[in-house]
Amino acid sequence: MKKITAIVRPEKLEELKDALNEKGVHGMTVYECMGCGSQHGWTEYYRGKPVMLNMIPKVKIELVVNNAQVDGLIDLLCEVARTGEVGDGKIFVYPVEECVRIRTGERGVKAV
């Protein structure tokens, strides 16, 4: 089992959800976060004073999946989340050692 996390633009969330649903991925958890990276954010003004926003609101999507699904999902996520402009975000993959469905106590792959 692997955990895929994608840090993406918040306005892409709806589309990503739809795309994942279509692929039959139902289990997912979403976090709000703030990111900085190559993207420099936008400037807001407060009473004439520029305020540089170097932390930009992002969304992290977390999917725990079977090893076989990883590559397909990375491609899907990249495709949907990409705008081509700086700030599109990153995908990270981590190992998962165990998975338990609380309701049933099931463990491992069938609990994903």
Partner: protein
């Protein structure tokens, strides 16, 4: 000398009606999505700035200037409010015996009406219209549509709707609610729906703000309907009482409708019902008995509920915050019901409602008045929309800006930068 009691009353009512526009900013702002809060509220606030200026420059003159010879327009003689203060100074010497309060009060009271009416319109366009185009539209609209319409309904002797047709409109069913609601409808059709409209559903981002807005509107509306008697007397008291009981009835019946339709009475529902009850009683406030006001409030909520939940889905226009579903529909219903329930002795024209007189005269006038209002508003609106569209090269923001939200894209300002969250 003026009657200082009525002067005091009219000044305070003016203040309360002015306060409705910030109130509406919260009603609408709470209903908006989180990414469009600043834009939604700023449209209302900007109306204060714009109509405040257009009214001084020409609106007052177009609506209430002139010598009363035109049935559809005031005049050009009071542009820029010239002569207002010198008139007041010379008038002070010889106040007519029957003058209730200084005419200066009216300039401000009627300005407050122009502001709130223009602000109502902005509810339909939330989340997708260019800010500059909104400002240009409401500024022009206040001069070209609102001011003449106010003259036609409230211009006294010879005015088209109020006198020739003989339609009654106590505090602004035609002038305020039908005109703004229908304009909202036209604008939202011209704009097209928000991205995902019909597929995704939107929720209000801040329900307590909706309640705050409703509460502030409620307060302001007491001045709106009470002040439309233009004196501190028993009819003003009746208008206030009717306003309260109709809004209470609208609130209650909306909760009942929700209980039946979805099982869960909601706070946004209660606030919507309250406002619908206020709208419906507006043309009738000083004309009907309290039991009739209660009935009007009980009726308006199911009607608006159907309009909002069924009509909109059926015809697919994206009236984002329901300016039409609430104000347009409620105003229409109120105008018609006034033709039924108007107490003859209270009627400005002496003509009473069907229920008292058995004659459909008033009802016919009311319907005619509404039809004329609709015709005028629709035609002028279409011209204005075309003009603004041409001037700005389109009414809508880009798809990307819409997705990002207008707050950041058009105003460089997040409503709640220190709070985490997402529009859902």
């Amino acid at each position: 000398m003026y009657d200082s009691g009525s002067t005091a009353f009219m000044l305070v009512c003016t203040m309360l009606v002015l306060f409705m526009t910030p109130g509406l900013a919260f009603f609408y702002g709470g209903l908006a999505r989180r990414k469009n809060v600043v834009n939604t509220m700023l449209m209302c606030f900007a109306v204060i700035g714009i109509v405040g200026l257009t009214w001084v420059v020409a609106g007052w003159s177009f609506a209430y200037g002139g010598d009363g010879s035109l049935s559809w327009f005031g005049g050009f003689d009071q542009l820029g409010l010239v002569g207002l203060v010198s008139g007041m100074l010379s008038e002070a010497a010889s106040v007519p015996a029957d003058a209730v309060y200084p005419s200066l009060v009216d300039v401000c009271f009627q300005m407050a009406f122009a502001m709130i009416t223009a602000a109502i319109v902005t509810g339909s366009v939330a989340g997708r219209m260019r800010f500059g185009a909104v400002l240009a539209f409401v500024g022009a609209w206040s001069l070209v549509v609102y001011a003449p319409l106010a003259h036609m309904v409230w211009g006294g002797e010879g005015s088209l709707i109020g006198d020739v047709i003989g339609a009654l409109d106590f505090a602004g069913g035609d002038v305020v609610h039908i005109s703004s609601g229908v304009t909202g409808l036209i604008l939202c059709v011209a704009l097209g729906g928000r991205k995902g409209f019909g597929l995704k559903s939107y929720r209000p981002h801040n329900v307590p703000f909706v309640a705050l807005g409703a509460g502030l509107l409620w307060l302001g509306w007491f001045g709106f309907n009470g002040g439309s008697e233009f004196a501190a007397d028993e009819v003003a008291a009746l208008a206030v009482l009717n306003t309260v009981v109709s809004s209470a009835a609208g609130l209650a019946s909306w909760l009942v409708v929700e209980r039946v339709a979805s099982g869960t009475p909601s706070l946004v529902g209660a606030c919507t019902g309250l406002v619908a009850g206020l709208v419906v009683v507006t043309p009738a406030a000083g004309f009907v008995e309290p039991w009739a006001a209660v009935l009007m409030g009980l009726l308006v909520s199911p009607v608006c509920y159907l309009a909002i939940s069924r009509l909109k889905a059926r015809f697919g226009y994206d009236d984002a915050l329901d300016a039409f579903g609430c104000h347009g529909v409620g105003g229409l219903l109120g105008g018609v019901l006034t033709g039924l329930f108007c107490v003859p002795e209270l009627s400005w024209t002496g003509v009473g409602g069907l229920l008292y007189t058995g004659s459909p005269d008033l009802l016919v006038s009311q319907v005619l008045g509404i039809l004329v209002t609709l015709a005028i508003v629709v035609v002028l609106d279409l011209l204005l929309v075309a003009a603004v569209r041409a001037a700005f090269g389109g009414l809508r923001v880009s798809e990307r800006d819409e997705a990002l939200g207008l707050d950041v894209s058009a105003h460089g300002e997040s409503a709640y930068p220190a709070f985490t969250g997402l529009d859902s």
